[in-house]
């Protein structure tokens, strides 16, 4: 299984553990991810202005260069996935904007690339049954709450990722690893997004609701694929709500994957988490006794 692979900026900065755990897991699972040469900004936020094509330039250039490498491009970060897939949709369906962008980047890219999320690779190409068979350290009984946020699911007709109201790919993934899935009502609600950069209640409110809804239902860990969600949910537990040790760690799905596959702890990259996942994972025997985080 070979794919071209787009890391994105966050995975080289705040979310290093996301990438290192994913790449190590992919290697073990026989999924070959070939990093794009000279990749650049994914576009960061999908341009909301419909009449301005300029922000499509960077993602379109990425897509065009990925097309030369193959037919499928894999992303990990929910935001990169959203921007690249939506840009691809424009390039596939909107002839006017396609021509304009192509003229600017001097390409003839027509949207004939498939942008897939690493979760989709695990589900559709590897298969969750095969994944379950690859598990070395079953996470039996670990109460894990999936958290989707918005970027993986919406707009549903462009992303066509999962049922936007009742998604289940993360649940199925967690079940394959042996976790006990904790369903909770806020799993597709807003994490607070960039408002979280402002201080105050407006910012931390949504994140705390999400964390509380999972904690109240017995979740011991929250699992996501979005660096911004991870940051918001994690940081919202700092200080007054921190209760360090009693907090619910927020981790990337690939970090849980790497643990289940029995990979060395140095690929996990738990540094920098406000609520460290180490104590929890050691307490259930999923990680060795020497602290890595």
């Amino acid at each position: 299984m070979g794919y071209s692979y787009f890391p994105g900026c966050t995975l080289r900065a705040k979310a290093r553990g996301f990438e290192s755990s994913a790449l190590a897991s992919a290697r073990v699972l026989g999924i070959h991810l070939e990093e794009l040469a000279n990749w650049q900004c994914c576009g960061a936020t999908f341009p909301l202005q419909v009449d301005n094509s300029f922000p499509l330039v960077s993602p379109a250039r990425t897509l065009a260069s990925a097309r030369r490498m193959g037919e499928r491009l894999v992303t990990l970060c929910s935001a990169c996935y959203n921007v690249l897939k939506r840009t691809n949709h424009v390039m596939r369906t909107d002839a006017d904007r396609r021509d304009k962008v192509n003229a600017f980047i001097e390409e003839d890219y027509r949207g004939d690339l498939e942008v897939v999320h690493f979760l989709e690779v695990l589900r559709d190409d590897l298969g969750f049954d095969a994944l379950a068979r690859s598990v070395k350290v079953p996470l039996s009984g670990l109460a894990a709450a999936p958290y989707y946020g918005c970027l993986l699911l919406r707009p549903a007709d462009e992303l066509a990722f999962d049922d936007p109201e009742a998604p289940h790919i993360l649940e199925d993934f967690l079940s394959a690893l042996g976790c006990r899935v904790v369903d909770h009502p806020y799993k597709i609600e807003c994490c607070g997004s960039y408002v979280a950069l402002e201080p105050g209640e407006l910012a931390s409110g949504p994140s705390r609701m999400v964390v509380e809804s999972a904690r109240a239902r017995g979740a011991r860990v929250i699992v996501t694929s979005c660096p911004l969600c991870q940051y918001n949910l994690d940081v919202s537990q700092q200080g007054a709500h921190g209760r360090n040790g009693a907090g619910v760690p927020v981790i990337y799905f690939t970090q849980l994957l790497a643990i289940a596959l029995g990979l060395p702890e140095d690929v996990l990259g738990f540094e920098g988490h406000v609520i460290s996942p180490g104590p929890l994972l050691r307490s259930i025997g999923a990680m060795g006794s020497e602290a890595t985080a």
Partner: protein, 648 residues
Amino acid sequence: MRTGVFVCWCGLNIGGVVDVPRVVQEISGYPGVARAVDYRYMCSDPGQQLIKDTIREERLDSVVIAACSPGMHEATFQTVAESGGVNPYRCEIANIREQCSWPHQNEPGKATRKAVELIRAAVEKVRGDEALSALSIPVTRRALVIGAGIAGMQAALDIAEAGHEVVLVERLPHIGGHMAQLSETFPTLDCSQCILTPKTSEVGRHPRIRLVTNSEVESVSGYVGNFTVRIRRRATYVNWDLCTGCGLCTEKCPSKTPSAFERGLAKEPAVTIAFPQAVPHKPVIRAEACRHLTSGKCGVCEKACPVGAIDFEQQDLLLEEKVGAIVVATGYDLHPKAKVGEYGYGVYPDVIDGLEFERLNSASGPTQGEIRRPSDGKVPKEVVFIQCVGSRDQENGYPYCSKICCMYTAKHARLYKHKVPDGQPYVFYMDIRAGGKGYEEFVQEATDEGVLYLRGRVARVFQDGDRLVVFGVDTLSGKKVEIHADMVVLATAIVPASGAKELARTLKLATDRYGFFSEAHPKLRPVESLTRGIYIAGCAQAPKDIPDTVTQAGSAAAKVLALFSAERLSHSPTVAAVDEELCSGCGVCVEACAYDARTLDVRRRVAVVNDVLCEGCGTCAVACPNGATRQKNMARSQVLSMIDAVVG
């Protein structure tokens, strides 16, 4: 040739744009035109008299009416021509309203010129028209009704009562449709079974109704007055002629699976009579649930039956019926569960739909009419009703209003309140649409009885412990609402019955984009389909309540009776004809015909037209490679001279 041209002003519709006097003047001198006159409203009685008088005075042999679309008044003017002594097929319409004055309102000069050209073309056409007489066809005075819900039963009874035989085909083993599942009906709260069973028994014993249940229409051929229908009666594995309906087999059957009639809220044996009042009161074996039919073991029912009616060898039966008219009354289904993930329908057992609530409320239902929720049988103390689930939802459902949900939700909430007086019903709604006799009052009483109406949508329903959390919004107060409920009832959208699409294909009937059968005209011909002799009734056409359904069914029956009252039926003679000298028997026209009106006479190697099936569309004439097919009164020479008259 002596042609009269009659130019209508249609008040200002034509006269306000087209210079009518000038048109009359220009056309007067056209070859073959004996006289041209104008009148303010040619379709009025004086207008018609003017045509008749002019025919007589000028000894006309053909007329051209320049007026509105032939769809409006062609029949009127053909009758006038005939009563004046001109063959009705030598009366042509030049459409100078829909095709001239209306679209060219801002260019009166050009419109006037175009009107003259259109009339010249019509004069050229009428010049080549043959005098024809209508084709006469016999009519079989027997009707087929498809679907035996309240619509189909009503139509069948009305036709049968008027003295004609009816073949009533029902897909399920029993008749009564969804109405048999309802507990009470709005706005009177009378018991559905109590008002339905007199009808079902009457249908069951009516000497002129042939009831064919557990059956589906497989094919239909023929035309108005003369349809041949093939019906597949699926094996019931019970010989109904021997069966006494004693029910011993159903008591002994060890295989219990979810009951479709109870919408999965109860189990039923593999050999079953769906409900106590079922007509016919005979069991069927559901093959997929029967141990004997799936594995060859068991056979308990066979041993139990005192009259030897169980017949595991029974095969499907193909029946053929000749009928003159067809009423389609296939009813509805509800929007599928899987499409409302945000409400957890199909995931949380206590999120149910309206029909499931009817069963919970029904005295013969799984809880004997006590409101007990499916998960643990507890009496729910707080129940949230959500309206417009799938209806009025442009994005994820259907844009239309399902029409009956406001009323049945009010009914549900009231029935719940009557049975659980200390319980609290909440209704989330978008608008309350209670148009109908006694309807608004009925909803008002619901609020008086303590039903809490909240205007807004529900975003999410979530299971929390043994309760359901409902996140919604009350748009009147502008506040988010969170209700911890014991049960949630969804008013899911009405959609066409499964199989309606296939039936539409079998009958060659048009449907709208949702799959509801299309009526011939939304206002003036609401029960007729576009195919003559086929009528529509009930929710097969669009969502509607019981009173409207019964009304429409009666109306469809009246149309059938009108058809049956004629000695013979007439059919337009402007059909295709084959010049056998030129025909090479290639068969291209047979492929081209959309009405199955053509066959190939293999022995003589020529194409043959069935005049009665031919709709005169002309496709065959275009397809024919050597000009052997001629469209009567639309001959090639006519078309060419019409073109000359316009561009020349």
